[in-house]
Symmetry: C2
Subunit: 224 residues, 2 copies
DNA sequence: CCGGATCCGTAACGATACTG
DNA sequence: CAGTATCGTTACGGATCCGG
């Protein structure tokens, strides 16, 4: 925890003692997409400054949410990654994300800051628990100049930055607007293909449709 | 939103633009327990100060999370309450709460700050979705000098401060330690009755057991 | 007394420069 | 590359004061 506490014996207050400071949850958001180097975190969160970033990483490390490790050779680079405890923040953060989707977009937010990975993070969590049970596939997307893939593994859906390391069952190229529209279910996958807004490089149309039936926002309609 | 934004087109960043400042989520926590007067919010969050509290309430109001209204006569008092949008934060906040339960308790947190309502809030959210379907009951607890009740209404479980307005199906008296132990499943309801740590005022032992089978932490074991 | 608003000292933040 | 040091600005926290 940082050197300040709400001082309340409340589960929420305690989690905020660890996570509540500015930028902290966004650092964790980035690490939910995979291990990252210091400079890569800074690149997507430039306003933090190096001092703030190293402060946060240090305090998250002492709290057992983040750990520093070294990538296996030949990479051998130091990276930060989530611990098991940190990984358990995936569901709470996705829940907050889905809530944030409903908010109007502030005019000071420039559209250029859109990143498909961040949409992907919410997307992957909105999976109906049973939708992906028994499925073991990898879906890859080339969105603008971003590459990302989803590892669907029997009930879990993990979004990752970069190309799929060992090939993909479905691979699709589209732009960020199309990707967001697909994610938000404003555009049907079949329609995207028809209008050539999405181009399938690997796999079939029906696999692409099926991919988005797993990835899509079933959680957007309130569940009660 | 407050007059600061992360400036990112990311659902999580946008939700934090609204909720990310200090104290904000704790204000919402209190309002999840029911409408509250300004002074009552201040009483449980004294370190905020009147200025910070009114700032937060104002900004949450412009963001559509909170609204000010007047209690029906004869009370006729002004209160703050969650809007529909604010109420939708229940699940995300409970998810964060359940995460916070796993954290070690900081030594600067004094045990006296424990409030059964706050435990109840997490507790009520950890309900297995199907557990309470078809059930329509009210469970009341007298914990120390606190009174609270749970309204179980066909799949939803809402914790509320105060006595049950229109009677309860089960009413139990215990101390805060017993309540927490029951909530955390460290103590079986039957055992609590046997040891007279819990006294049933209304209802039967089996109803009490059933109540905690609905309220209890099914979600504590990781679901994957 | 309730619901704020104002003031002010302190801590956190944000940008930049500097170092191993 | 991965941080630490410095510094001006903003937010927080505690107190006091004001209108209804």
């Amino acid at each position: 925890m940082s050197n300040k506490t709400y001082g309340q014996l409340c589960p929420l207050a305690r989690s905020l003692d660890v996570l509540g400071e500015r930028w902290t949850l966004l650092v964790i958001r980035e690490l939910l997409l995979g291990p990252r180097r210091f400079k890569d975190l800074l690149a997507v969160l430039p306003a933090m400054g190096t001092n703030r970033l190293s402060e946060r990483l240090a305090s998250l490390t002492t709290d057992g949410v983040v750990k520093k490790s070294v990538l296996p050779p030949p990479a051998s680079m130091p990276v930060y990654e989530l611990t098991e405890l940190g990984e358990q923040l995936r569901d709470p953060l996705i829940a907050l994300s889905l809530w944030g989707l409903k908010l109007p977009v502030d005019e000071r937010i420039e559209a250029a800051s859109a990143r498909a990975e961040l949409i992907a993070l919410s997307l992957a969590g909105a999976v109906g628990a049973s939708t992906s049970v028994g499925v073991h596939e990898v879906y890859e997307f080339h969105v603008g100049d971003e590459r990302l893939h989803f590892i669907v593994d029997d009930g879990r859906v993990l979004p990752r930055a970069g190309s799929a390391p060992s090939g993909a069952d479905v691979s699709v190229v589209c732009d960020i607007e199309t990707f967001m529209a697909l994610a938000l279910r404003e555009l049907a996958p079949e329609q995207a293909v028809l209008e050539q807004r999405a181009v399938i490089q690997v796999g079939t149309v029906s696999q692409f449709v099926r991919a988005f039936s797993i990835l899509g926002y079933t959680g957007l309609t309130t569940r009660r």
